[in-house]
Amino acid sequence: MILTLAGLTKMFSSLRGDILAVDDVSLVIHDRELFVLLGPSGCGKSTILNLIAGLERPTTGEIRFDDVIVASGRRKVFLSPKERNVAMVFQSYALYPHLSVFENIAFPLRIGKQGATGVEETVGEVAAMLEISDLLRARPAELSGGQRQRVAIARAIVRHPKVFLLDEPLSNLDARLRLAMRGELKNLQRRLGITTVYVTHDQVEAMSLADRIAVVRQGRIEQVGTPDELYNKPANPFVATFIGSPAINLLETAFAEENGVFFVVVGDQKLRMPDEKSEELRRLSRNVCLLGIRPEHIHLDRLDRRLSGQRLKGRVRAVEPLGRETILHLEIDDSRLTAMTSGGELKQGDTIEVDLDLKRAHIFEVPAQGPRARQ
């Protein structure tokens, strides 16, 4: 099913004043797609999900399931969650504490008035699919976090919903379980082929799960794209910073053009930009830019041999060994950079030569109020 959001806006009035929780969001989510809404806490992800589910009413804008308008601010159309046939999994799972696992899963069917025989069977199938057949008699309070998660998912998919909505379903699990469930969820979604919207604030989760991601910030969509696109072509500094760990280095640098060749200034040194970046730099309005370089695109002498010949002198400020790789905090003149290497031979205070892979650098306009203030 294709899910379309068009110019969707949601305003909350509270004692604190009006809050624009969702601000002119337009999206097309493809059939069978696993679509992730990614953004920091309070940016309005859950509100968007609630709007799709029919738990909230849009202030303006329209939501369509295929060609059916399920909610429209202007046309006064509003279908209830029941009529939309959506399923949802909540962060807290929201299992009914007074019902057994079986009754929890059967609940949507019983409300939907299916025959009693059908219920047994369907619940059995879904429970088998999620490997919780032996838990059917238990109460939610007796289950572990991971098991509750499975029950919540079983309850959601038992009705064969048109859309599957998940609101941070993994954030209450411990790290190991989260990893395992992530894989399972993705498999399940592929197998069921249900259009899915998944909300998270964890970029790793988003990157590993999503077919496509929308990055949300203060109720607005900053960029929509595949994980690759977001990583390689972030539309703005916010997206660039939000995707990737450790976070991208953003340097505010001056640049100049000499005979068609562009140079940027990093620290006290001038570096030549590769020719393919010229077009981007020429489009900027001023002679300063925000240069984004991911830590994994900074190469260090002695450790890496893929040098471009443009070396910067730097000093190691701090070393964070993570096992497989090491995060280095570097100082180049008065600029600070984070780099990632696979070796662990450097230590604090070492002087090194640094090579920036400028071909993979990202160039952004310097925002009016300065780059740090916006994050």
Partner: protein, 293 residues
């Protein structure tokens, strides 16, 4: 406001409708009716007549009314502090991990659960001049040479009512205060103990300030409740001797009983206004005390 549609509003208010109907018909309407009736001459078998404030003027000249008012206020002033003190000490006790705490809690609930009209009869017997428990105990422990005429003298009747009322309502106060006590984090006490603060200091510096909001709530409830005392007096002293323990509720009730609704209503309105004023004073007090701290 959230965007409610008309049908949602209708559904939402339909959930509240029974509440509104019941409160409206059997509480709000009667109160308004009482206010209205209080400016009428409304006596059974007589023509109903609008007389504005004549009922109230009659109140001012009515010595029995003033005596009832004085008794009611005096009763509140004596019994509420007494019950608060007792209740606080019970609550402090029940908040400790003493053995048999469950049993103590059950004991406390017993006076609360017994209807005042029923326990009132028992108290009547306890205060009996000839063979009551009170005089028996006084004689047995040599506290008084003469048996006391509990219900036959003004002072004795007043004391009897106060004591019986304390028995019935102290548990309620203890339970409310207990709830307030149980949310005071025990780390505070442990910290103070480590700092070498003694028992009294801990009580005044931790318990009292943190319990203050609960105390004010309990005071408010008890004061309003004590103002309208009726059952116990009706059973125990019938307002006597010689009207010495007639409360405003009982005094007003007698007029309703004989069919003088106008005058009874004006007494009710007076009691209502007193309760309102006291409630407002408490609200103001609690606001001051939160502003000060």
């Amino acid at each position: 406001m959230r965007g409610h549609t008309l049908s949602e509003l209708r559904e939402g208010y339909s959930f509240m409708l029974p509440l509104i109907v019941f409160l409206g018909c059997f509480v709000l309407l009667p109160v308004v009716g009482t206010f209205v009736t209080s400016v009428y001459q409304d006596v059974t078998f007589l023509e109903r007549k609008f007389i504005l404030f004549q009922n109230y003027r009659r109140l001012i000249g009515d010595a029995d009314f003033w005596r009832a008012l004085r008794f009611t206020l005096l009763f509140v002033a004596v019994s509420v502090p007494l019950e608060m003190l007792l209740g606080l000490s019970f609550a402090l006790l029940l908040n400790q991990s003493v053995p048999l705490r469950g049993l103590l809690r059950c004991c406390v609930l017993i006076p609360w659960a017994i209807p005042a009209a029923i326990s009132g009869r028992t108290w009547e017997l306890i205060y009996n001049y000839n063979y009551g428990l009170a005089n028996f105990l006084l004689a047995r422990f040599g506290l008084s040479d003469e048996p006391i005429n509990w219900l036959g003298s003004s002072a004795g009747a007043f004391a009897s009512v106060v004591l019986s009322d304390a028995w019935k309502t102290t548990p309620f106060i203890a339970i409310i205060l207990l709830a307030g006590l149980s949310v005071i984090p025990s780390e505070l006490y442990r910290q103070a103990k480590v700092d070498g603060a003694n028992f009294l200091y801990r009580f005044y510096r931790i318990t009292v300030p943190l319990l203050k909001p609960t105390i004010i709530v309990a005071l408010l409830f008890r004061t309003i409740d004590a103002l309208r005392i009726f059952d116990l007096i009706y059973v125990l002293t019938h307002g006597g001797p010689g009207g010495a323990t007639t409360s405003l509720s009982l005094y007003g009730y007698r007029y309703f009983l004989v069919g003088d609704f106008g005058y009874g209503s004006s007494i009710s309105v007076t009691l209502f206004v007193i309760a309102l004023v006291l409630a407002l004073i408490y609200v103001r007090l609690s606001r001051w005390s939160t502003e000060l701290t």
